[in-house]
């Protein structure tokens, strides 16, 4: 099985605290892998390292055969990696449609000619003059935006022109996912997509993620609602204190005593296990 994303020995220290230590993970094409663990386990830090917002202190990240550890986030995005953020980071003053169109930024080609040196000025000129090719590209992307938004039923389509700040929290999370899909990602990193959603909304989101998965999209998911994780995942990886303590099929992971202890604590004072041991 060819691995789309392969992480080895990933480590990130903040001062004296090791947020992620010696983390290995591989995600195959078309797989849905979930990353779970208690607060402060290092899940979001891992996402930041993979997407280039943070630089690892050690370890390698290979995406589609290319080493991306320490690369700039904009370059990693251009390779086809899209992510959402834990607390939702939409562009508040942009309309829903524009938010999604920004997601397609790396795919713009007619308006962003790859001319050496004068490329940026060419882009400025094309944005002003808008020859046919540029107009067509924009129109095609707008049509595509509507198709993506239609995935969310009538949650977003009627709000196409609304600024994102005016949306409900759940809708902002949906816009974020729509924006990520507009990038046509080879892998999608979802950071708590259902945070702040009620059970109905969570159910909808779960159905959507399931649909994306069956369309062949590779997904790496951070999620706290473990029912959902269990239902969706091909594999679950559990982090605690920055290290991987378990990995495997959802049902196995859930019965793993190490996982239960990571979440609930050990059952008696004085019975502490020495340290969470990384899985071999």
């Amino acid at each position: 099985m060819s691995m789309l994303l392969e992480i080895k020995g990933l480590t990130r220290r903040f001062g004296g605290v090791t947020a992620v230590k010696d983390f290995d993970l591989a995600v195959a094409e078309g797989e849905l892998v979930s990353l779970i663990g208690p607060n402060g386990a290092g899940k979001t830090t891992s996402f930041n390292l993979i997407s280039g917002l943070d630089r690892p202190d050690a370890g390698t990240i290979v995406f589609g055969g290319q080493s991306i550890g320490g690369m700039a986030p904009e370059a990693i995005a251009a390779l086809g990696l899209a992510r959402t953020f834990q607390h939702g980071r939409v562009f508040g003053n942009l309309s829903v449609e524009d938010n999604v169109l920004v997601g397609a930024h790396t795919r713009l080609s007619a308006v962003r000619p790859r001319w050496p040196v004068i490329g940026p000025l060419g882009e400025l000129a094309l944005a002003l003059l808008r020859p046919r090719a540029v107009k067509q590209e924009e129109q095609a992307l707008r049509a595509e935006t509507r198709d993506i938004l239609a995935l969310f039923g009538d949650r977003l389509i009627p709000r196409l022109d609304h600024p994102a700040y005016s949306l409900s929290y759940a809708n902002r999370r949906r816009v974020e996912i729509a924006r990520a899909l507009a990038l046509k990602p080879r892998i999608l990193l979802l950071d708590e997509p259902t945070a702040g959603m009620n059970p109905t909304e969570t159910g909808e989101m779960q159905a959507l993620i399931a649909a994306l998965k069956s369309s062949g999209l590779t997904i790496l998911l951070i999620e706290h609602k473990l029912d959902m994780v269990m239902a969706l995942s091909d594999r679950v990886c559990v982090l605690d204190n920055g290290a991987k303590i378990a990995e495997g099929a959802p049902q196995d992971v859930r019965r793993d005593p190490a996982v239960i202890e990571a979440y609930l604590g050990h059952s008696g004072i004085g019975q502490a296990r020495p340290q969470p041991e990384p899985v071999a």
């Binding site: 605290v17 702040g196 706290h224 029912d227 859930r254 239960i260 609930l264 604590g265 296990r273």
Partner: protein, 242 residues
């Protein structure tokens, strides 16, 4: 029936459009250890912030010993007899340990009694005593947690609020911290703690509440809660096939 030391009555809190608490009510009896349990993003820490006046609820009241404290600025709530051990400890990193403890007594002006309390803290926390003139930022996580606890005690509070006191600590330190919390309580301080570490917290607590997405889903004496499978479900989801 005697008035509990701390009472939250039908609290509703919002972050923008997102509701963090739904009619949250709870009570902390005098001399008790009460823990508030819940998974990630259940609204535990927000509860602490509401008590301390760092976040204002949209409706509902918080009373301390019968007197309403919701709506007061934080420094007045502290002066009313509430001590805080904040999430992630939040010790003053550039101050020495001694200065941190002195800051803990900020609301007091009885110099001699403060000095006595300082000596008492050093007995209670021998590890802190060894580091007294070191910059607090250079201490390990577990040591910082002890400084934060001693700092809160220095204010001679009636109630100490602890936000995830075991977070990010190694398992051995977790045990030590919990033992100390039980010890502090034996000395007469009421404790309200927010914990993720449910099994352990229920070992030392008298009562517990379980919070799930802003609602209390379970409450009762610690002994009862300890064996309740629903706690595990609240954290790990769905019924677990044995």
């Amino acid at each position: 029936m005697t008035e509990p030391l701390l009472r939250l009555d039908r609290i509703n809190t919002f972050y923008g459009a997102v509701q963090a608490h739904f009619d949250l009510s709870l009570e902390v009896g005098r001399g008790r250890i009460v823990c508030l349990l819940g998974g990630n993003a259940s609204g535990k820490s927000t509860t602490m912030k509401v008590i301390l006046g760092l976040v204002s609820p949209r409706s509902g009241t918080v009373t301390l010993d019968g007197a309403e404290i919701s709506g007061l600025p934080t420094h007045r709530i502290i002066r009313a007899g509430v001590g805080s051990v904040p999430e992630a400890r939040r010790i003053f990193p550039l101050m020495t340990v001694r200065e941190n403890l002195t800051m803990g007594a900020y609301v007091r002006s009885d110099r001699r009694a403060i000095a006595e309390d300082l000596a008492r803290m050093l007995e209670l926390f021998p590890r802190v005593a060894e580091r007294l003139d070191q910059r607090a930022g250079t201490l390990s996580g577990g040591e910082q947690q002890m400084v934060a606890m001693a700092r809160a005690l220095m204010g001679r509070p009636r109630l100490i609020c602890m936000d995830e006191p075991t977070m990010g600590l190694s398992p051995l330190f977790v045990d030590r911290v919990l033992e100390l919390i039980a010890e502090i309580n034996r000395q007469g301080v009421t404790i309200f703690m927010v914990e993720q570490n449910a099994n352990l917290a229920l070992q030392i607590a008298h009562e517990g509440y379980v919070l799930q997405t802003g609602r209390i889903v379970l409450q009762g004496s610690a002994a009862l809660l300890r064996d309740d499978p629903r706690i595990r479900e609240a954290y790990l989801g769905g019924p677990i096939a044995a």
